[in-house]
Amino acid sequence: MTPQNTILIAICLPLIGMLGIIIAGRVSANLREAVTLITALCLAYVVWSLLPELMAGGRPGVEVTQLMPGISIAFRVEPLGMLFSALASGLWIINSIYSIGYMRGNKEKHQTRFYACFALALSATMGVAFAGNLFTLFLFYEILTLSTYPLVSHKGDAATVRSARVYLGVLLTTSIGLFLPAIIWTYVAAGTGDFVLGGILPGKLQDPEVGLLLGLFVFGIGKAAVMPVHRWLPAAMVAPTPVSALLHAVAVVKAGVFAITKIITYTFGIEFLFDSSSSGWMFYIAAFTILAASIIALRQTNLKRMLAYSTIGQLSYVVMAAAILKPLAEVGAAIHMVAHAFGKITLFFAAGAIYVASKKTELYQLKGIGRRMPWTMTAFTIGALSMIGVPPTAGFVSKWYILAGAFQAQNTWALFTIIGSTALNAAYFLPIIYMAWFAKEESGGKDHGEAPFPAVLALTLTAMLTLAFFIFNGPVIELESQVVQGLAP
């Protein structure tokens, strides 16, 4: 198995899995879910098998077909994409386990469609991660949008369809209206859209245009949910919880911030942007989003909506880290993708488990729930601490690197933003934790225990990952440092 083949297999495997799921869905639910799990395991194996090559400095690539002269579907694996794909494929296994518990526990309809679209979304995610040029990135980015639409609108009632319309509307509007012209502009200006370390635009664009193009990219990639194009994320909360996990932790928003980071490093070039005078605004937009989203999160009463706004803030950490435009901050951006993924998936799993077990969705209902669902709430606590950035959780590591990057750039605003948002994060997570463990349960509630076993297993696993990442983060940092090798600090 050459690395070239491995890349293609990684993209096709979920598609084959999807066909298998559709066929198996006609036979029995057990078989269908077995197919899902097997596909997820195989995918993870395939993706992770690329890791040694990458660590050794290899950048395997393959061109599939050339559509027009200069525009081709091509893949090239580099550290950022490797990290993203490894993360997504790994979390898909856990998410599948959790889905089985959740979907069965809730007796959802159209489960075959659900698993099939999930597999399709993963295929698109692999495509985004491995994309070797802007066109390929855009292609899979759009497939990801479309394949998640049926997942978001899964329930099918009027309110859900309306929210799904917002989801699709915002993502398609931004991607067609801004992202696409940005890409075409890049092709016209640079003559190519290939991802090259150090960027393809230096020397091709002048100053005010650089800022304009950057704006088209940042707001065009609506999946990164930088304000004001964040509206789709709370709207998508109508989806089943495994889908929320997919959106927030595994694929969708990660694809957004991944794309922004990748474009900054591989299309513009970090140093080019740092030297240009018209790109500074991106940092402030990200910082504003972090604080504003945190404040809005503080005012939420619904658990999932609160988590959604928390995600918007956390995503802008990545964008802001990338916008600091210094090597350590870029590494921090990459690590924060991982850290947030582990933490947020844990939180969503927990929220879903609470819903399955008790049908509770509002914050005030959570009083004393820790005693009924100790596993779930322990995991929730770990996830929340990671969001705040308390050691020994994953969140601490990434914040550390972003802060270090801010020092490199001597960017005091970044320091203030991080400190401020940490305080805000604490302000909206700690009361929940307190309430869950120490407040007295209101009487008259449903008598319930833990959620179904697969769900609990999944959230325990992710909580453990959150903790483990605090210690075993060496390889990740080593890999991502390759991106910024040779750059002045």
Partner: protein, 496 residues
């Protein structure tokens, strides 16, 4: 002469001479089989022609053995080959699928005449495309127009009659304008052959009759091509026509008029008349932009699914005209590619609509709630073609949109305005396509007394062929792109 050199003539005479035979085929199904066979043979011929043209040779043919300005010449270059592929492909695809739907809409004893008219329509359109003679184009334009009037008049609703009457009036005015223009040019040059015209028009290019002729020809053809605001006949005609006829006409009829327009303006007027390119652009560009925006906006509020798609066609014609009005290599290439890709997307969409219409009479969008539950395959094909119409990457529609935006950016200081218009209308396309999709998948299902099942296999399979073609040409557009490249080169004067 060997068979290959006869291909341009065979392209027309195969369907044309099959038509009288079809009239006589009365037993059930035979007329359909004959017509389909003829259309498939035409399609094969056009593929062979495309291969020959890609080999580097423009195929020419002297009718009756008379040399060019004296006899009628045929010629097939990159542009013609591509349009031929669209025309014959649309006819072959639509005819292959047609039988169940036509059996439902046209009485059995009238079917032989109907299929015969269909072949005549095909022959007329093909005849326009291969012809290199201005008057001959008029004759075949009339064959195709008369045939399409007949075909549309086959629509079961009485409103079809009024729609087709309007179309007849507009079409005849357009054709007559064209005839006047050709007459004026003939008066000044003494020739009807297009290539000959170009070489002789130089001395008289600035005389009034030629200027007026350019106006008449452009307006006449714009009328036939349904360029905004001369499009009023189109949505009604497409809505009321039998469903399979809508598939055929929507995919290729107006495109052929655009083809003639492009050919005249680029090959006869452009190289010879100073300032013509500016006048042409000034005339067409605003119309194209307005057409794109207004028609897309109107389509967002249409209630009937066929009318919605018909209105969207007007916007898509705007895209094609916009590319042509840049008068640049990239612009023409985009325009020609969009002729091909829009035919794929719209043909596929109308095929899917025909599948739905086979089961559900009422095609108002709000009445189609939840159809996807009973017709999952049809609706999936519809979504795929819809995505192609919007221009989602990975579909054919994306390729031409990409080319068009690139051409806009290169077109000069106003490029950004064009890009903005294209993008805004793409977003409007998202809205109107998604209105359909939402209704099909999530709309509430009303009580129905019709048989609820998937469409007949014949319709469904062909619909899926069209849908998959949208995907295929989204990833492998080499062939149409090569033809479009060739066409753009010739039209811009680089390929001679």
């Amino acid at each position: 002469m060997d068979l290959i050199s006869h291909l341009p003539a065979l392209q027309v005479i195969v369907p044309m001479l099959s038509a009288p035979i079809i009239v006589l085929l009365h037993p059930r199904g035979l007329a359909w089989a004959g017509a389909t066979l003829a259309a498939l043979v035409s399609f094969a011929i056009s593929i062979a022609l495309a291969v020959a043209v890609l080999g580097g040779e423009t195929q020419t043919y002297a009718m009756g053995g008379w040399p060019a300005p004296f006899g009628i010449a045929l010629s097939v270059g990159g542009l013609s080959a591509l349009v031929l592929l669209v025309v014959t492909g649309a006819a072959a695809i639509a005819l292959l699928a047609a039988r169940p739907s036509i059996d439902q809409q046209i009485e059995l004893e009238r079917q032989p005449m109907f299929y015969s008219a269909w072949l005549l329509g095909l022959a007329g359109l093909a005849g326009i495309v291969v012809s290199a003679d201005a008057f001959n184009i008029f004759v075949f334009m009339e064959i195709s127009s008369l045939a399409s009037y007949v075909l549309i008049a086959g629509g079961p609703d009485r409103r079809a009659l009024l729609a087709v009457f309007k179309y007849l009036i507009m079409g005849t005015i357009g054709a007559t304008f064209y005839l006047i223009g050709v007459g004026l040019i003939y008066m000044m040059t003494g020739t009807l052959n297009l290539a000959d015209m170009e070489s002789r028009i130089g001395d008289v290019a600035q005389t009034r009759p030629v200027l007026v002729a350019a106006g008449f020809i452009t307006i006449g053809l714009a009328l036939k091509a349904a360029v905004f605001p001369l499009h009023v006949w189109l949505p009604n005609a497409y809505t009321q026509a039998p469903h399979m006829i809508t598939v055929f006409l929507a995919a290729c009829a107006t495109k052929v008029s655009i083809y003639v327009l492009i050919r005249f303006d680029y090959m006869v007027f452009q190289p010879t008349m100073a300032e013509h390119d500016n006048q042409f652009a000034l005339f067409l560009m605003p119309l194209a932009l307005l057409g794109i925006l207004v028609a897309s906006a109107v389509a967002m509020f249409e209630g009937n699914i066929k009318r919605l798609l018909g209105t969207s066609s007007v916007a898509q014609i705007g895209y094609i005209m916009l590319g042509a009005s840049f008068i640049s290599l990239a612009g023409v290439e985009a325009s020609v590619m969009h002729i091909f890709n829009h035919a794929l997307a719209k043909g596929g969409l109308f095929l899917a609509v025909a599948c739905i219409a086979y089961r559900f009479r009422d095609l108002r969008i709000q009445e189609l709630g939840g159809v996807a539950k009973t017709m999952p395959f049809t609706c999936a094909a519809l979504v795929l073609c819809g995505l192609s119409l919007i221009g989602i990457p990975g579909t054919a529609g994306f390729i031409s949109k990409w080319l068009l935006i690139t051409a806009s950016l290169e077109s000069g200081p106003f490029g950004w305005i064009f890009v903005a218009v294209i993008l805004v209308s793409s977003l409007m396309a998202v809205v109107y396509i998604w209105r359909i999709v939402e209704s099909l998948y999530f709309g509430g299902s009303a009580n129905r007394d019709t048989v609820i099942a998937e469409a007949p296999l014949q319709l469904l399979v062909v619909t899926w062929i069209a849908a998959l073609a949208n995907l295929y040409f989204g990833f492998f557009p080499e062939v149409p792109l090569a033809l479009a490249d060739n066409a753009a080169g010739v039209l811009m004067g680089y390929g001679k």
